[in-house]
Symmetry: C2
Amino acid sequence: MQKIYLSHTPRRKAQQEFLRRIRLPRRVERVKTAGAAGRITAEALFARLSMPADHAAAMDGFAVQAESTFAATDQRPLRLAPGDGYAPVDTGEPLPPGFDAVIMVEDVQTLPGGEIEIIAPATPWQHVRPVGEDVVAGELLLPAFHRLRPQDLGVLLAGGSTEVAVLSRPKAVLIPTGTELVPPGEARPRGSVPDFNSTVIAAYLQEWGAQTVIYPIVPDDRKRLEKAAARAAEEGDLVIILAGSSAGREDYTVHIIEALGEVFVHGVSTKPGKPTLLGQIAGKPAVGLPGYPVSAYLSLEWFVRPLICRTLGQPEPAREELAVSLGRRVVSSLGSEEHIRMAVGYIDGRFVANPLERGAGMTMSLVRADGLLIIPPEAAGYEQGETARLELYRPRSELRNNLLAAGSHDLIVDLLATALRERATGLTLSSAHLGSMGGIAAIGNRQAHLAGVHLFDPESEAYNTPYIERLLPGGDLRLVNLAYRMQGWIVPPENPDGIESVAHLAAKKISFVNRQKGAGTRILFDYLLEQAGLSPADIYGYDREEHTHLGVAASVAAGSARAGLGILPAARAFGLGFVPLREERYDLLMNGSFYRSAAGKTVLGIIGDPVFQERVEAMGGYSMREAGKVMR
Amino acid sequence: MQKIYLSHTPRRKAQQEFLRRIRLPRRVERVKTAGAAGRITAEALFARLSMPADHAAAMDGFAVQAESTFAATDQRPLRLAPGDGYAPVDTGEPLPPGFDAVIMVEDVQTLPGGEIEIIAPATPWQHVRPVGEDVVAGELLLPAFHRLRPQDLGVLLAGGSTEVAVLSRPKAVLIPTGTELVPPGEARPRGSVPDFNSTVIAAYLQEWGAQTVIYPIVPDDRKRLEKAAARAAEEGDLVIILAGSSAGREDYTVHIIEALGEVFVHGVSTKPGKPTLLGQIAGKPAVGLPGYPVSAYLSLEWFVRPLICRTLGQPEPAREELAVSLGRRVVSSLGSEEHIRMAVGYIDGRFVANPLERGAGMTMSLVRADGLLIIPPEAAGYEQGETARLELYRPRSELRNNLLAAGSHDLIVDLLATALRERATGLTLSSAHLGSMGGIAAIGNRQAHLAGVHLFDPESEAYNTPYIERLLPGGDLRLVNLAYRMQGWIVPPENPDGIESVAHLAAKKISFVNRQKGAGTRILFDYLLEQAGLSPADIYGYDREEHTHLGVAASVAAGSARAGLGILPAARAFGLGFVPLREERYDLLMNGSFYRSAAGKTVLGIIGDPVFQERVEAMGGYSMREAGKVMR
């Protein structure tokens, strides 16, 4: 097999090329109007019947012939007899023949014997809804390519159309490939990867108006993949092959599309999303998506969404744009268009955004993202504090009420995010894991509302306050206790190495996993080292860094480290051993302006709530005895 | 039965009262994650498994032990043997035990015999995705009350949850009532009304997250209605009775809710929407909606939507707001909060809005509406040109490309609206039917992009130009011919009265239906009268006005008039007779700024397109011989 290299086609050019060379068929089907909400009209729709079909009473009252009432005055009331003179009508009822006006029930005196008495003339057509007032036969009800809303169904039914011609949903066939893939519900042997991508991609396609078929997973076997692709092109309007789109040893997708049809583009100069494949099989669009989830979903949106939208006559949904101040420096590689997921909050009158994890494999970055920062290939990035434009994933109005938590991460912050939702506070919370020192800086630069800090000061043996006084002197700040939590050694179950101190780590050359610089736990570890008269070089794995407690625990669980320093719930999440070391104070740092704001009061209200505190303590390893207390 | 009067409860107060006194149950169900898009999480969701589950290669290449490579330089390349020395790995594969780094395939020389040669050391953990990098067991994936998006399904599956706890959709039971109602697909005997309201209401409820059951139509019979309501309260979480909510002779809803449960509010001080009923049956919310469609849908949104959103832990969807300049005076009655549907366009750098038909029965006004103007009870309305804030039904970005057509209505304008969609121009078109004179005024005041005019000037015997020169002297205007069209007498099939002229109308006392003042057809009729030496008093029905050609035809078709003046397609739509009278010129008036704009060019391009012209002429009664020609 010849060696394949990816090209660096700019995204826009690749889009144009693909859309120019291929299209999805536009088919029409007739569906019941009652179930047609969300479908797209295939033609202009005209009313076949009128509504009302007859001149109808617009009020409850009496139908009369206006001309016969002209003489009525309050001096000389006029009497009308039932039958020829008047007829009782309810709202919506058609006027009996010969009548052309309605007198409201409250303007009439009913006499014994059935006559009515009126004291003012009726003008012709008063309180009458003329035929076709709402919908008139022949009238244009809806244009073609219109997405049907509930009220549209009403006028179609009123106009006599119980069926409606709508555009068929294009049918996409997804082929998940990869010997390592297993269906998400099944057991995961070592080295296997659950195939969640096809579910996500099918859900996106359905949201955009396509129908989807997911084929069973095809292993990396050129023959079997070729067979599946050929069948997909027969069955569907669009073939999507999930993964194998790059230029690796077992990346067959490009060869298969080449063999069965034609490759238009292989390789797009974006990050993530580069190994995208655009082509056709049997005249039908064929797309090879990258295997990394973020790459796959972005690529799907760039190349498949416009294809579907064009077929359905819809503009691509435009995302709201927003100018934000960047809370951190964002570097970008020249030559690639970078798509960076961002967390956005509204702080002291301006929108601030921080980059989330950038890897193409970071599915959680798409879950956490409030917006997307697109850096063109010719730009090297942005400095901290610069203004950039984002495409928003959530409405701007919602982001005005989004709190940004920076600093050290703790599960209590997640519980706080959940409590804000559950209590319908209208507030949401996005977390960036920057470590305690990063959190203090973010509060100082007004790039976050809250920062979790747990910094032990070896000199004063106090927590947090000395750091804040040193780093942000004289600021209008509040430091509020969130919890006391137990730090300890996270070790394999039952602590087989008998770890109890840093001295043990060094003596037994235990493989250690550290936290990143600036993290409170790292500072504590360095303090412990110093106390024990040891240096970083004495610890095997000192330079290996994880950014969260759970990351540390995961490394121990996977066996790639034998010990780490962290909190009890992290060890519990993986069923690991935990050797308690010392209790530390975990505080939330915030600016005075936030502390005094309505949002700040809501957050403090939750922290002070005994129900919330019980929930935290139930996780184990936490004491809420001073939760909510202002420490400074 | 005692007489019932409606109260005038302010809308906000009625909402608060209803929401305070009653709630829907919040139930939880477990559904397959793969099919859960759009559902709302019932609890905070934590990862059960990590992704990746092992340290995995982030690149295609060779797994090595970093420590063993520290000596490699390009001067002294290092050779590694397969097995203990290195292992080939593809992206995503777990590292074999003992290895802690990956060297990319392109940085390695493969030697015959199976050894590899490297010329630089690998740093520990390079090109390795650590366990849990994307999703780590124990991590918060999603908070409670979160609407699941495609990417959320991905992290749930990655985290090991193939099922997810979501909030159940509350079940609403709809009871359509009214002796006059027939199911929409069935024959419509005189006086019957198709029940399209229950379809529309069910579609709204589903959009907001409820499930719906529609009961068969119940006639106005207190016993049967009571039985249906009791059963609905047993079966559903929420009972909605469609119509009969007012205080009329056969409005039983209030009596039934009173008998089976309790009425909280009967009558809201809004227009439309006044006869709304809020209460409970067997502890479940029971709502009586007004029978007029617009009233019913607005009332549903005010009172039922917040109930559903609260149950699902969602904020009510907020509509974008927009400040607009009012193209016409809008009067409002004191004491009622008025909700007026508006058409919005962007003209010469500002948003302009015109009110649509205001009746509660005008379903088409909700179809045509671009936004809603809410006038509080204490305000009397707005003057023309005043600024008002609208709640938008369509995004502001879309309305920037919405053209406003004013003036005389013609079916060609509808075809133009359709062509703008079909050709994916990005433009849409909203029509207000103001008559030719109203259209000229709208162009002069810059309240519309286009105005259809067909004004015959008796003195010069010319069309349009004399009026424009008189009314808008010296303006930078363009008058573009759209079509010549045949005006004639619209009469019953085969013209039983033998109408050929106004003289016949007068002589035979034929019941006539006229057009409104300012309409070109009205001016033509007045000219014909004058030519014949007749006066309005000689015409029976001269004062009866319709606003469109189709309205005139509908009156003739319904038998309430025997003749009207109008165009051929209107007569055809109702299968009526048509007696040609004279061809008239129908032009589009526009400001020079619009004529020169990109949007203007797009419109003129369509008018000049032979395919479009053929489609118009196929309707009959039109000549496109000068279509697109600038007449002034």
